[in-house]
Amino acid sequence: MLFNSLAFIGFFLVVTSLFFILPHKYRWLLLLLSSCYFYMDFVPVYILVLGFTIVVDYYAGILIERSPAKKRKWFLRMSIVANIGILGFFKYFNFFNDNISFVLKLFNFTNPVTDISFILPIGLSFHTFQAMSYTIEVYRGNQKAERNFGIYALYVMFYPQLVAGPIERPQNIIHQFYEPKKFEYDRVVAGLKIILWGFFKKLVVADRLSIYVNAVYNNPEHHSGKTLLLATMFFWFQVYCDFSGYSDIAIGSAKVMGYNLMENFRRPFAGGSVAGIWNRWHISLYSWFRDYVYSPLAKKARRNKVKLFGYIIFIFILSGLWHGAAWTYIIWGAYSGISIVIERLYRDKVKPQKYISKTWMKILGIIFAFFVTSISCLFFRANSVSDALHICGSIFTMKPGVLFRGSPPINFYYFFLVTIILICVEIFQEFIPHVKLINNKYIALRFTGYILIIMIMLLIGVFNGSQFIYFQF
């Protein structure tokens, strides 16, 4: 079920109403059943895949907790292998098989293994990582193994974050399922406001910009350098609003019922540096990599800078692979990692802060980081590596030609309008946080804010029910 569908609005209203009507002891069951329904609305049979990982990790958690040190590690490995195995099979089998076929072909051999045709279970990378974080935390002793199977299943399946995160940690969420939740007006309204802003980002900004981006990226050979550059920058805003919009709807939906999910985006473009952007981007995924992959590696590397930089690049390549089984994602990850390393080296060696004021450092950092990361997301969006290289070449050589305005050309101005609205709001939220509209203490201003957002959504939102980009991961 897509968040941006009428069906979801109905689903949310029914589930939330029932949640508050039912006594506390039945609420977990309601949430679990509704989460199953939510998931099965996509491809019903894949609930079995999800069910398998839930059963494996549930028992793995208990066995890890009960067992002596050596065996604990064995059970953890078993659980990780099961999770990665499923992820690998569904997500990476065809990719690796295609690459093997390509290499064998170079030596005039034929790969006897053929590709398998299936649809990727929706949100597989998200719930696999969430399930893994449970067994790792139990292993580390930060979380007690959950004995109630239903609650554990709900931890993995909680519908707001089931298919596109935030990737939760068990310490943050499991205990909340045991806490009785009251209907609190302020909290419910706060949740609804987050949902409203999430819908705005998705319908008004992301889906609007996608019209231009898709038109350009689906036929890159037809477009000039400036068009491709503009489409690439628009894509950066699009993917941000698409994903953070989803996260906002997820966080808001959970908040209405009294559950606090972790923050997933913190105005990344205001990060002031390439590393700053990634520190504020998809926080639940990058903190996952930091906590479970980078930190253990960095501990071993001690202060060996070369190794540490290597690990940064490695983590970003992994994150690229996490996003998708394609070379474009791997290149995107490698590029992002390398750009962070270069930036860090530059800041350490040149120390630009000596020559430029803090304010200018921040402004220039924001602009510079935006352009550097825009180029990285070109690989993220391109349909193939050859397309990405063509686009890159066209941008850097400023391939001549007209600036594509889309069709009808007048609608071109919508793209700028929605981008400017987004930038203004983010600037206010980041640098002038005391100026508020929908959180203003005066009711008249708050209502003006709600009405303005809804009116803009109705007038220039795109209601074609397009999928969220991150669903495919």
Partner: protein
């Protein structure tokens, strides 16, 4: 639920009710203002669409996408054939759109000639699903005041129909700028009975490809195309299905064009292909690789009109008198 919780729920509903009342009032007020602006649109896509379905009077009607809008000079048809002409082509549209507006037009008026411009991706590229959004944006404003459009919307895009019934301004989603632009366009003569000339030449670099090899035909689009041809023939109207000039890599086959030709054959209808006409496929006649500029449109229309004239002299000379 405790008493305190019930009180808080009531507070929420009260606030939501107030918000909905404000929204409803504003929706109706702004919606009515937009409705009036839409009805009076002096130029542009909206005017073209409105004219094609509410006030069609011309002898010749031209259908097609942006290639039709910029490639068929209506003045030349009128001057050479002595028949009035209207170009109801629409940017980004495809056969689904044309079929719907054709059927609406025929309820009010039966022209003498219909020209349909098709492309090598007509039934595959902007397939029916994509064209629905263009169609929806044009039809939704009529849903509240015209039952036949309400029925079309209910059938083709039920969700959009429902949203339009709930919100009046939703029907004008994405139309604010075109409405404003239509007013601006009215000041310049850029729209001549639907024909929109474009000056200049932006063709650069290698010739791009423009075919749909290995793509599947969209069944809805295919059905719409057949319906279009059948409807025109049943109404005893002269039909010309045309591929206008392109400045792209020459292609030998196209799934769309092959399907179109097969359907046309079934109705004993020829296909006129000017796609790679050597006299017309010159760089200087194009604005970009797919669209003729003013000069190109003029030359192409002259050639087309002379061919049509010759055809009419053989088949329906009464039209030329």
């Amino acid at each position: 639920m405790t008493k305190e919780e019930v009180k808080q729920v009531a507070r929420l509903f009260k606030k939501l009710f107030i918000l909905l009342v404000f929204l409803f009032i504003l929706d109706r007020l702004i919606g009515t203002a937009l409705e009036n602006a839409y009805k009076d649109a002096p130029q542009g896509d909206i005017k073209t669409f409105a004219h094609s379905i509410t006030n069609p009077v011309e002898n010749i009607f031209i259908y097609g996408s942006s290639r039709a809008v910029h490639g068929y000079d209506t003045r030349i048809f009128t001057d050479s054939l002595g028949l009035s002409c209207f170009n109801c082509g629409r940017e980004n549209s495809n056969i689904l759109y044309h079929t719907v507006i054709l059927n609406e037009m025929l309820k009010k008026h039966s022209p003498e000639i219909i020209i349909l411009d098709v492309s090598a991706r007509e039934l595959t590229w902007r397939a029916a699903e994509n064209s629905k959004s263009v169609l929806a944006s044009m039809i939704l404003p009529y849903v509240r005041r015209d039952t036949s459009f309400a029925n079309i919307a209910r059938k083709l895009f039920p969700d959009e129909f429902f949203k339009t019934r709930v919100s009046k301004i939703y029907a004008y989603n994405s139309l604010i700028l075109p409405l404003l632009a239509g007013r601006k366009e009215a000041l310049s003569i850029k729209n001549i009975n639907g024909y929109e000339p474009i000056d200049g030449n932006k063709v650069a670099g290698k010739l791009p490809g423009f075919t749909d090899e290995n793509k599947e035909t969209d069944l809805v689009a295919k059905k719409s195309f057949e319906e279009f041809v059948k409807t025109v023939k049943e109404n005893d109207i002269m039909l010309y299905v045309i591929q206008s000039p392109l400045y792209v890599k020459r292609f030998s086959s196209s799934v769309s064009l092959d399907t179109i030709k097969t359907i046309l054959k079934k109705y004993n209808q020829p296909f006129w292909d000017y796609g790679f006409d050597t006299a017309l496929t010159k760089k200087e006649y194009f604005y970009d690789n797919l669209h003729l500029n003013t000069r190109g449109a003029s030359l192409f229309t002259e050639k087309l009109v002379s061919d049509i004239k010759a055809d009419l002299e053989r088949k329906k000379p009464s039209l030329l008198n």
